[in-house]
Structure formats: structure tokens, C-alpha cells
Amino acid sequence: MRHIISLLVENESGALSRIAGLFSARGYNIESLTVATTEDPTLSRMTIVTIGSDRIIEQITKQLNKLIDVVKLQDMTEGNFIEREMMFVKIRAEGESKRSEIQRLSDIFRARIIDVTDSTFCVELTGSGGKLDAYIKTLHDGDVIEIVRSGSMGITRGVKALTL
């Protein structure tokens, strides 16, 4: 099953390589990984999307917890949570009909066009991974020039939070 694991880690050089190294050394999957500092400059927040059986996921969370740099960990998938991913797509947009079609599609997906040239659009879109996939599907293969995805981040619903 697909799990989203959020971590608070010491904001130190090497912390990322320890976590990435753990996944490669033990043969676990990483679908995506995002990391940035938090409101506390000594902490980074990391979101890892991984796939595995219950047994593998249990090992992943235990092994991550064992790393000295990992301060706190939460498997988002165990409760209610919100997941978002951000994407930029650079699309070939030549000719009036194509340009308006892309604009229409973008409106449906609540995407924003953030850069325009006479032959391209750059579109920004936020949502679940599935929504981003669906948007890409609506585009013609030959029209996609470049895609940048941030990887997923997650936050729990309700009062509960992953903080110290």
C-alpha cells in the first residue's frame, strides 16, 4: 500500500543522506521525497511517499525512528490527512484554438497560467497526485515540453499536529 510518512528531522548536513541511504540500503521504495525547513530553524520537515506491505512499512517507520537525526515521525495514512502536490507544466501552445483549449482545461482544473510566450504556456497546478496525473492525461503527448512535480506533502486534519 501507498503510505505518506512525515518526519521532523534535525536540520543538519547529512540528515537527508542518512534517510535516503536507509531506503537504498534496505531496498525500500521511495515514490517521492520533499524536504524544507520549518518555523523552527533547527528542524526540517520531510514528507516521504513510499509503497510496501504492512510489514515493510512497519520496518520503514521503525528504522527511520532509529536514526538519531529523526526527531519525530508520523504515518499520515493512519488517519485523516490532506495531501497536496504542486506541478509546473510547460506546454506547446501554438494557434488560437489550442491556446484557448489549454486555458479552458486549466480553468476546469483550477490551474493557473503563470508564464506565456507566443508558442508556450507554463501552467501551475496544485492538488493530489491523482489530480495532477489527470491533468497531464488531458494534454496531447506531443504538447508537453517539460513537467516539474514537487512530490507530495501531507498534513493531518483536525487539531492533532506533528510538532515537538
Binding site: 528531522v9 548536513s13 541511504g21
Partner: protein
């Protein structure tokens, strides 16, 4: 007090109570060596190769329970140390390795003798630190010792760029007595409800067995284990790392289990209805085929490392905590219970079955051979040392023979590389042990293959006057490799023969030691006695052993516990054994 980085390091080691530091100098650690030179409290032992430094520190740690400390230079110094670090990591040995590094400003420039020591060691340390600020040096060292010695112990590396240790830069130093790390708080006490539940399951068991591992030794829990085992009256089997955790000569002890475990231990594992795992990690050499492992058992598992629980084998009653604390809790609960004076009838018939397995004498070997049998060497070693020596070993057949035939009654007497299986471990490890216990007998059981992997340390032994006894089981083969080739590769002995061996007697002599060769079984006893009578000399006992001997019993990789390859001597008795494995 204002000190340089090097002085802080040395003063810190003193304050931390470090007696010995095993190391080898080089460019990046010259400032540190200069500081070491100006004091006598921390004794530096100059090894001949950095692998030896880490193994010696490791041996010291295993024998004493205190952290071992090694000091190596940057680049090749650090990479040479890695085998020893990985060895300690796999067996959870507390160790702190200080490595020199090129000056901070040159890191990343491919400088002379530069290697990313943090990156290289990352997968085989519990944690590592690169010190970038001299003001954080003392705290970082304290954290290194704290992490290495608490929770599930392990090696920690501290990488020190040369500018951090420079004599010109001095900062105030105060020994950090306390350390706190928000991200590291090992669990000590087991969950009370789980402990109570475990005791109830134990008391209702009909065919129980205790399976104890290295955690008992590391956690100094032998006394508690002995109490619980005696109180319950259960059979107990130990892993390779757990030998000595429970007295080897006690009737309740079935000996080692697993790939080369005893027949009775493995059969009991297969048939048990309750498995009580204490500080053991269900390694593949123990479990064999995990789908056929203890098929009828409810499994109770105590371990300090949550990640070890239900990793390969699912635990029905997991208890995360220190083995010592959890077992003492159990002792208390058991004391309050009214246990029947005599064993229950179920336990009585379980023991009867076990005794019938034991009677088969699975470790029997040919005592009439005209060649020296390796098993007889270990038996003789056991007799001559009164069963009370510190035994280190290398890796291979000799290691298994030592584990099977030397009955360790005390913890920390059996020192071997169990997890990583590092050839070359035995001799340097014995140096660490002998330094810690100069008045005890210390023997390194080795083979002609393993000993050559760190033989240069014979020179260190002369320099520091370490009268270790090297017991070389010389069969001119990489014995365990040969055994597997015999069983699984139709006797195609590919590169397992040790051709062009040195004359070990002359070699020992050229290193300034005593060498004795034994070829006739009739001379074995007297040669062993002579070796141990030379109290202040290192003796290299080169024992020419039978080339064809194999280690039995053997569970083939991936097989179940009840399907063992047994020795020819054991097979002879098979005619008298019924299909249940019992003697008729």
C-alpha cells in the same frame, strides 16, 4: 581552562575514563598525537593496521562492557578502519572511532588523503559526527560516547578536520557531565502489561524453550536470565553471540542453536509451543527457512531495539526494553506466583523428549583418528584452561568448533565476529582483551586462513608484551568454504586450498614469540599445557588438523530446524532412532 582541540580530545578521554586508545598516526591526526605524547593517563596502543585498531577496541569493549576507542588518520586510515567498524555495528558493540580529516577549508577538494569518512561509514555506524566548530567538540564527543553505549549499542565515528585540532586555537573546556538529545531516548522499561502477559504465557507452556542472544551479554543480564531460567525450569538454547549468557555446563542448557547448533536445541525449537526470545534478533543463521520456523510456537520477544522485533519473524508478545530490566521485572512477578514444586507433567514429558535427543550425542566425532581432530583441540583447550579463559576467534570451521566445544559458563568470555563474520578479527580482538585482563588466560582460536588476514598484529603483541595464546587449527584449507564445496558443489574445491603457507613456527619466532607445532594427536595435551605454562610469552600453537573434518550438525541454508545434516558418528546411532527422532 583554555585548551586546543587536540588537548580537549585527550582531556575528554581522561575525564570519560578511557584507559586505552588503539590507533595509528598519520598527517591529519599529528596534532592529536602530539597531545597524546604529553600525558600518560590515556595509553595509546600502536597497532600495525587500522583494521587491527578497530578490532582491538572491539575486543576490549566485548570483554569489559566499556566502550572501545580507536584513533585513525584521514583517507586510508579511515577506510582501513571500516571493516572493524562494520564488525562492531553488526554485533552492536559500543565503540568510538576518532578519524582525522583534512582541514575544513579543503574538504571536498580531493585533497591528499581525503575521503568522505562520514559518507563511507554512514551505513555501518550507529551515528557519526563531523566536527566543524571547536566550541562544539567536547559536547560532540560526549554525545558520541552516549550514543555508542546506550540503547542498542554500536560504533560511532567522530571526524575531526585538522584545523579543529590545531595547537594555536584554544577555547575554554569543561567536561560535559550530562548530555541530552531530543531525538534519541532509548526505551528502558518494558511495558508492564506485556511483561505480565508474557509471564502468563510462559507459565502455561507445555513445550517451552528459551532462546537467548547477544543482548543478554551486552545488557549484563546473565544473572537475571539464570534466575528466570532456573525458576521456570525450561530448556534454554543460546545463539553464537549469546554463549556464556547462561552457564554452558548447566543441565538446562541445550547449547547453541541454528545452522551449526546442537540436534537437541534445533529439534526443541521446531517442536516448542512457546518460544521465549531474549535479546536475540532471529538472524537467518538461526531461523533457516522462516516459513518453517517454530511452526507451533507462541513467540515472546524482548529486545531493546523496536526494529528488531517482528523484522523477520512475527512476535506474538513483543516487549521493547532493556533485557536486564524486563527480566528483573519477571523475576519479581514469578516470585509472587506459587509455582508447583515439581515440574508439571507436560514439562516433564517435554524434558524426556529433549533428553532422548540429547542422548544421540550429535557432537560425537572420531576419536580414533590418526589425525588431530579440530574438536579435540578445543576440548583440550577447555581442559587446560579450566574452562575459564577468554576465547576470541576468527571466522570459519574453527569458530564453530570453539562455539560447540568450549562450554562458556560466564558472559563476555566468548569473543567473535558473529554478524559480519570478519576473518582477521581474532588476534587484534585478543589484544584488546589481554590489555583489559592481563592476568587472565586469553586464547585466539583461529585457522591458517583467518590468521593471515591480521597477522601483522603479532608485532603489536611483542611491543606491548601481550602473552596471548594463538591456537591455529591448520588444515591447509579454508575449511568452511571447503565444507560447502563438498556438500553443495560436488567437491569442486575452487580456491579453498591454502597453498604456499608460511612456516608458522618460524614466523612466530621472527616476530619474537614462541612457536610450537603439533602433528600427532598424542602430543596435543602436552603442547597445549606447555603453551599455557609460558605465562609471559605469546605462544603460536600451530596444530596440524584433519583436512576432511566437517562441522556437524548442519542445517542447510533455507531448511527447517528439524532437517539437519548429521555427522557419520551420529548417523551410526540412527538405526536406533524412531521417526520422531527419539532413541528407541
Amino acid at each position: 581552562m583554555e585548551l586546543s582541540g587536540s588537548e580537549i580530545l585527550v582531556q575528554f578521554l581522561k575525564d570519560e575514563g578511557v584507559e586505552f586508545i588503539f590507533g595509528y598516526p598519520g598527517g591529519a591526526v599529528l596534532h592529536i598525537y602530539d597531545a597524546l605524547h604529553q600525558q600518560d593517563d590515556v595509553k595509546h596502543i600502536l597497532v600495525r593496521h587500522e583494521q587491527g585498531a578497530t578490532h582491538a577496541a572491539d575486543g576490549y569493549a566485548r570483554a569489559t562492557g566499556k566502550p572501545g576507542v580507536a584513533l585513525v588518520t584521514s583517507g586510508p586510515g579511515a577506510t582501513n578502519a571500516i571493516t572493524g567498524i562494520a564488525t562492531a555495528y553488526m554485533d552492536s558493540i559500543p565503540m568510538v572511532v576518532i578519524s582525522g580529516q583534512v582541514p575544513s577549508g579543503m574538504i571536498g577538494s580531493d585533497a591528499f588523503q581525503e575521503v568522505d569518512a562520514i559518507g563511507c561509514t554512514r551505513p555501518c555506524v550507529k551515528h557519526n559526527f563531523l566536527v566543524k566548530d571547536i566550541n562544539k567538540l567536547a559536547d560532540t564527543l560526549k554525545k558520541a560516547f552516549y550514543v555508542a553505549t546506550t540503547g542498542r549499542p554500536g560504533p560511532v565515528l567522530v571526524d575531526l578536520p585538522k584545523d579543529i585540532t590545531a595547537p594555536q586555537i584554544k577555547v575554554p573546556y569543561k567536561y560535559p557531565k550530562k548530555v541530552s538529545m531530543r531525538s534519541y531516548n532509548p526505551t528502558v522499561k518494558g511495558h508492564p502489561r506485556q511483561v505480565k502477559k508474557a509471564v502468563e504465557v510462559l507459565l502455561s507452556a507445555k513445550r517451552p524453550i528459551i532462546y537467548s542472544g547477544g543482548g543478554v551479554i551486552l545488557g549484563n543480564a546473565s544473572e537475571e536470565l539464570r534466575k528466570v531460567t532456573h525458576k521456570l525450569g525450561f530448556p534454554i538454547t543460546e545463539t553464537l553471540m549469546g554463549l556464556g549468557g547462561f552457564p554452558g555446563t548447566d543441565k538446562q542448557n541445550l547449547g547453541m542453536l541454528g545452522m551449526h547448533g546442537t540436534y537437541e536445541a534445533n529439534m526443541a525449537m521446531h517442536d516448542c509451543d512457546v518460544l521465549f526470545a531474549v535479546g536475540a534478533r532471529f538472524d537467518d543463521r538461526i531461523t533457516g527457512d522462516t516459513s518453517k520456523f517454530c511452526p507451533h510456537a507462541t513467540i515472546i520477544h524482548i529486545d531493546i531495539d523496536p526494529a528488531s522485533i517482528s523484522k523477520t519473524i512475527n512476535a506474538d508478545i513483543p516487549i521493547v526494553g532493556e533485557v536486564k530490566t524486563v527480566l528483573s521485572e519477571m523475576v519479581k512477578i514469578l516470585a509472587e506466583k506459587d509455582l508447583p514444586k515439581s515440574r508439571s507433567s507436560a514439562l516433564e514429558s517435554w524434558w524426556k523428549k529433549i533428553e532422548s535427543w540429547r542422548k544421540q550425542d550429535c557432537l560425537a566425532y572420531d576419536k580414533t583418528s590418526k589425525h588431530i581432530k579440530p574438536q579435540s583441540v578445543i576440548e583440550t583447550l577447555y581442559e587446560v584452561t579450566g574452562g575459564d579463559a577468554y576465547i576470541t576467534s576468527d571466522v570459519g570451521q574453527h569458530q564453530m568448533f570453539a562455539a560447540q566445544f568450549y562450554k562458556f559458563d560466564k558472559p563476555r568470555r566468548w569473543i567473535n565476529s558473529g554478524g559480519l563474520g570478519t576473518m582477521g578479527f581474532g588476534l587484534p580482538a585478543a589484544m584488546g582483551v589481554k590489555l583489559a585482563f592481563p592476568n587472565s588466560d586469553v586464547a585466539c582460536v583461529t585457522g591458517e586462513g583467518s590468521i593471515q588476514m591480521c597477522i601483522q598484529e603479532l608485532s603489536t603483541c611483542l611491543q606491548y608484551d601481550l602473552p596471548i595464546k594463538v591456537i591455529n587449527l591448520n588444515n591447509r584449507y579454508l575449511g568452511m568454504v571447503r565444507q560447502w564445496q563438498e556438500f553443495f558443489y560436488e567437491k569442486r574445491y575452487s580456491h579453498s586450498y591454502m597453498d604456499a603457507l608460511p612456516d608458522f613456527v618460524k614466523l612466530a619466532e621472527s616476530y619474537g614469540h614462541v612457536g610450537i607445532r603439533v602433528e600427532d594427536p598424542a602430543d596435543l595435551q602436552s603442547a597445549m599445557e606447555e603453551a599455557f605454562s609460558l605465562k609471559d610469552r605469546l605462544v603460536f600453537l600451530d596444530v596440524i588438523t584433519d583436512q576432511t573434518e566437517n562441522v556437524y550438525p548442519m542445517i542447510h541454508a533455507g531448511a527447517a530446524h528439524n532437517s539437519m545434516e548429521i555427522s557419520p558418528q551420529h548417523k551410526k546411532k540412527l538405526g536406533a532412532i524412531n521417526p520422531d527422532g527419539e532413541l528407541a
